[in-house]
Amino acid sequence: MNKLYNNKWYVIIFLLPALILFCGVLIAPIGASAYFSFFDWNGFTDKIFIGFSNYKELFTSDSIGFMKALGNSLLLAALSVFLQLPLALGLALVLGKKIKGERIFLSVYFMPVLISTVVIGQLWLKIYNPDYGVLNVALRAVGLDNLTRIWLGDKATALGAVFVPILWQYVGYHMLLLYAGVKSVPTELREAAMLDGATDGQVNRYIVLPYIKPIIKISVIFAVTGSLKSFDLIYVLTNGGPLHTTEVPSTLMISMLFLRNRYGMGSTIAVLLILLCFGFALLINLVFKEED
């Protein structure tokens, strides 16, 4: 059989479709994006080479507001790591210790992850509707009329109002990953600690958390890179408005490309996003390694 499996022609035949698809759509375009980022190009006429001008403009121009957009997505990343993940971890720890209704809680908490972000966005648009939305209706019903807002239209509240559904939707995702980790902790470890008189809190602190650290790391990476890439819900809820208060790099990229036909600049944003995602993933890996 080894003779059969050693035949290099088979390697080529079996791998070729995957290589073509993967390199054609994922790998080559990274190079192409990097290349386009050095040009002034509207997609139709000739490209004009301008070196790092796109990058310079992106970081310095106030009218594009890239730094503001990046700041927004970093804020989202921070909220995700420091609010969303602890909540998800808490739920995972609670559900992981065989409580009544574990399956039902788990399944319902995970449900929002499966629903299309457009549907979630449309629902929250309705929840936030200033006249008939559930939020303002509820506030009026309990006499808090002065707290009602035009949530997505007010510069003061828009960013917060956009972040809430984003954070809410993916709590279940992180919870599921962490829950799988909690479940993988060997029962003997837990039981031994319990026998030694450890409380629930101590078991979590000294047994479970160190055990699931690799999964916590993955969750942190996903939370940060996911925030940097976030697009769908913001696109549906505000598309970066009002007055660019909720702009993130992805919405900026799309409007550069398809509203202003600035393909070079759009590519520049794409390249920066890839670099940031990889950079943060590496950084988080390092931080977790340091701790060991």
Partner: protein, 277 residues
């Protein structure tokens, strides 16, 4: 001591139930307002069950709102993507786990890069290429990128399952006179059903819900997928919420229906995609 643990437990369950409601409410609200008239939604009966079940919202969404068509488009794109992803991934995984050659490990790592590459990376070049090939506004404009972006996860999952198939099976098939293709098609592929299900579910959800590519690569309304269609519909019916609610339900119920029956399998597919990566 007893009472404090009891009270703690009570608070724990109150918390769990509150979070349950926070997760169920939007979906419940969606289902109910999809069956209501404007006066009910806007005042008489904001969060109760519909007093009069207005199924006509669904007919409006399906016919006037073209949701039936968008649903079909999404289904065509999702099913084709799943088939291509699976075929390509199974072939590649066979080469990566069974065939003997140098750089096998390196290439596996290379494919795993795809797990971290954001779709933003390829949007401009793929858009430009598709437009040069006159392929914008075709199903392929979505199917090919979706398959490519599902590939890494598919190879990851398939590798795990294929490594568990004992090599003795290959050998006995080889002795029985099977060639490489024979072994692949008659021995390996039939045993990969669990992997096929996991990859299928995960890929389905990715394509069914994807917005950015679907929004950019398709501008013809006849080819829109559900997420873009729902967006368009909500632009049309800004003042009538019932039909929008119906459209949202139509876009969501296949996923939820499958989830009700296969919740464990679906959760496993998400765990497989993340934790092993």
């Amino acid at each position: 001591m007893r009472t404090t643990t009891k009270t703690r437990e009570v608070f724990l369950y109150i918390g769990l139930f509150l979070w349950l409601i926070v997760n169920l409410f939007p979906v419940y609200w969606m289902f109910t307002f999809s069956l209501k008239s404007n006066p009910e939604i806007f005042g008489d009966n904001v969060i109760g069950l519909p007093k009069e079940w207005l199924w006509s919202n669904y007919t409006t969404a399906l016919h006037t709102g073209n949701m039936g068509l968008y649903f079909l488009n999404s289904a065509i794109v999702a099913v084709t993507t799943i088939l291509i992803t699976l075929a390509v991934a199974l072939l590649a995984t066979f080469a990566l786990t069974r065939l003997i050659w140098r750089q096998r490990k390196t290439l596996n790592k290379f494919f795993m890069l795809g797990l971290t590459i954001p779709i933003h990376a390829s949007i401009v070049p793929v858009y430009v290429t598709l437009s040069k090939l006159n392929m914008l506004n075709t199903y392929w404009a979505l199917i090919i990128p979706y398959s490519a972006f599902s590939l890494s996860m598919a190879i990851l999952v398939c590798t795990g399952f294929m490594n568990e198939i004992p090599r003795e099976l290959d050998e006995s098939a080889c002795i029985d006179g099977c060639g490489v293709f024979g072994i692949f098609f008659h021995i390996i592929v039939p045993l990969m059903k669990p992997a096929v299900a996991t990859v299928g579910i995960y890929t389905f959800l990715q394509c069914w819900n994807e917005l950015m590519f679907a929004n950019v690569f398709i501008s013809k309304s006849a080819l829109r997928t559900l997420p873009v269609g729902v967006q368009a519909l909500s632009g049309q019916y800004t003042t009538e919420w019932g039909p929008i609610g119906a459209a949202l339900v139509l876009a969501t119920f296949p996923t939820l229906l499958v989830y009700i029956f296969l919740s464990k399998k679906i959760q496993e597919s998400f765990i497989a995609g993340a934790v092993k990566g």
